[in-house]
Symmetry: C2
DNA sequence: CCACCGATTGAACGGTCGTCTAGCTTTCTG
DNA sequence: CAGAAAGCTAGACGACCGTTCAATCGGTGG
């Protein structure tokens, strides 16, 4: 058991971390969190000030956890440390689930994380362009942003994807499977360039129609 | 004005449709919905039985609206009718916003829609494979599912994407911009095939490490 | 004109929720 | 070891929520 020797404060946060995404903020009561953490309701507010405070703490905790796991391996090459990876895979599911929920809610901390990831992505694109790996666009930030939402899509829609794949995509097996498929799609592409052109043209035509409609009314 | 001559029932549903995604189900009170629809709280429950009933009605309404707009143009070629497109663009924002929220919540109706879209996608892949446009995979359903979560990512993460692009991606301009970018990414791909291979290898190595770790403990 | 029926209201009820307070227990510290 | 500080609990309070209900309004068919 790992959760036995946790601080009461940590137990509360852990319980909240699991309950908020599944039941929603309104559906999660302070009493339920307290009961799940095996403490009194009063203690929850003693440690976190208010329910809102607890929510904000969870937001920050998750974002900072992700942030730590995202940068550490780059910093000191600890990607080769099995313990580190084991930690990622074992801790990840509740954290990822919360992150998805947090992003969908538009929580401030999650929004900040999104923006950081976007900056990182833009920077990587710039490097890749210099190396001639990808072609420059007239709208580099937008391309990076769209790519990011596509990559993060499965984090928010994990439930549906897990159902379709009959595997929890936040567990190790599903995670590697999804990652591999996504990398494949993003490397080779899927659509036919010819079909792309005609689709784009009909899209432009539709836009123009609507624009004219609006001007006339 | 279009909303003036709406039935009270329709006004309530419309108000709920806008409030649920922004304030959450717990944060949206029957009284607030009633006030926004300019009716009494009692009438809300008279028409929808309960708050839960109203929520379920909204879920179904949105899904059925999307379903209608998705199939109609294919059925009778009404894609050329400007009125139809104008309707899509003018109705879309609240509906799409609700859909994103609904998908993130894992609402039953949204889940059913997801599964339908997945089936459709699988079917399209099958046709495309016959025509030699895309290569077959050993995991066709999974590929279609991952693609679907990528495509739907922007619907759920519209807030962040809109912020990054400084445009409402549910409005006409943003919608066409995002669609074009996404089609481009999914057509040409982004990553370097060589880099893909090394990434995949390190991913496999990591997985193996974790697997060994777990077996030993 | 009356009887009826759905739409609609507004007040009221029971319940639960977030929060506060006073006090008890444990741990740290000088 | 005394006492302060922090951890923690039980109970209560006020607010607000979803829901109920009796009563009213407005139109429609007999």
């Amino acid at each position: 058991m790992r959760s036995v020797d946790l601080t009461a404060e940590a137990r509360i946060r852990r319980a909240a971390l699991e309950m908020f995404p599944t039941r929603g903020v309104g559906g999660t009561t302070v009493r339920a969190i307290a009961s799940a953490a095996d403490v009194s309701p009063g203690l929850v507010l003693h440690h976190f000030g208010s329910k809102e405070g607890l929510l904000a703490t969870c937001d920050r905790y998750v974002v900072e956890t992700i942030r730590r796991y995202k940068t550490e391996p780059l910093a000191d090459g600890s990607l080769n440390d099995p313990g580190f990876l084991a930690q990622i895979f074992s801790i990840a599911p509740p954290i990822l689930r919360y992150l998805g929920w947090s992003l969908a809610r538009g929580a401030d901390a999650a929004a900040a994380l999104f923006d950081e990831m976007l900056n990182e992505s833009v920077r990587m694109f710039a490097v890749a362009e210099e190396q001639g790996i990808v072609k420059p666009t007239d709208d580099d930030t937008a391309r990076a942003a769209v790519l990011l939402t596509m990559q993060l899509g499965f984090v928010v829609l994990h439930d549906h994807l897990s159902r379709a794949l009959d595997t929890d995509v936040f567990e190790m097996d599903g995670l590697t499977r999804v990652t591999a498929l996504m990398m494949d799609i993003l490397t080779h592409g899927l659509f036919d360039p010819v079909a792309l052109q005609s689709t784009r043209e009909s899209l432009e035509a539709a836009t123009e129609m609507v624009r004219r409609e609006r001007r006339d009314s």
